[in-house]
Symmetry: C2
Subunit: 234 residues, 2 copies
Amino acid sequence: MEIKVAVAKVGKWATSESGDTLEMIERPHGGISFVLVDGQRSGRSAKAISNLVARKAISLLAEGVRDGAAARAAHDYLFTHKGGKVSATLNILSADLVSNTLVLSRNSHCPTIVLTPGGELVSLDEPSQPVGLRRGTKPQITELPLVSGTVVVIYTDGLETAGARSSRALDIPAAVRELTSRDDTSAQQLADSLLRQALALDDGRPHDDVSVLVLRVLDREGDGVRRMTVQLPI
Amino acid sequence: MEIKVAVAKVGKWATSESGDTLEMIERPHGGISFVLVDGQRSGRSAKAISNLVARKAISLLAEGVRDGAAARAAHDYLFTHKGGKVSATLNILSADLVSNTLVLSRNSHCPTIVLTPGGELVSLDEPSQPVGLRRGTKPQITELPLVSGTVVVIYTDGLETAGARSSRALDIPAAVRELTSRDDTSAQQLADSLLRQALALDDGRPHDDVSVLVLRVLDREGDGVRRMTVQLPI
């Protein structure tokens, strides 16, 4: 099998930097974890917050700490550091090669979209608190078997609030359904297309930071090579 | 401008995991850093070492620690932890958006290949110690202006020792020169092609872990979107 992950990420229009932070880390027992954080507000202050939360989660995951504990610790850290006055959303997506599962940890009002190998589209949307505000905040955790055909889509709220100024909005589950109706849509095409649709609703001037992460599990035998590419506008 | 980075990475034939670790982290003051570590020996023990060194470097870079200090700390940590008995090579490549430079930190016998915007091929090969063995080990640091046309190639020693059993060897500078003679060779094509040439010399059964990282600075105006893709065979 092969896991393909794609991330597309853009900052709010006319701000110097995105308040969203996406980091990736290898799991010491095998596998890989992605951490996506959206800091309160936008610009530099949001970036500082999301960087702090992501850093805490990543450093713990790198030491082999389990996802639920890393999410709790990231919350406790922000809560302690900022006295409960600053919030952030936090998603952790792990491909855990010990348990052979995908572990989805969610502290966000945004749902996580899952397409099962059977073609069912599931929206993981149990009530969930952001980190940083309330003592004892816990993540919503979902564990899925690591089987080919699975697609997971995680995003920050800029994706679902795109177009809000003009009362148009992106129906994300419908967009995912349509984009995955063809078997050969890559993770990158899916992430890019969702971002492009959101940007179009905001007339190319995003009113908030937008980040989209797509993970696909494929059953093809690859060449055994791990690959990563990064594109960074400066 | 735009920075494109590609990594291609494969483990030694018939081992369960690569002893090389590659991690990436966003720099809190702006920019991005890549850390590539090759742990002594191969397989699980090498992986534990490279993971430990990479984790230390990444966690410090994430806190805004400068590259040279992060490399020194990673050395001190391994040296203390393993009593000077275990070594690893360590490369840090940073695109620093505060100083507008590429910072290349090297604790490895493998040179770093740089193609300048003027078309000059430079091999950064000053004598350099791996981390972990000798008290006070320092990195070789090179700082280059962040200008379009620059290409940087970093690799672990599996790339240059490929084919050693059959006394064939890859002339890496010559291969980079040839591959970059066409303007449109992407970072990914360059990384993939170098890895493929090494694998061919080992008849498809790499005798060591091989990792290649290529960074290109391009002057084109992109769409302002940050992108990342990951391909992970499991």
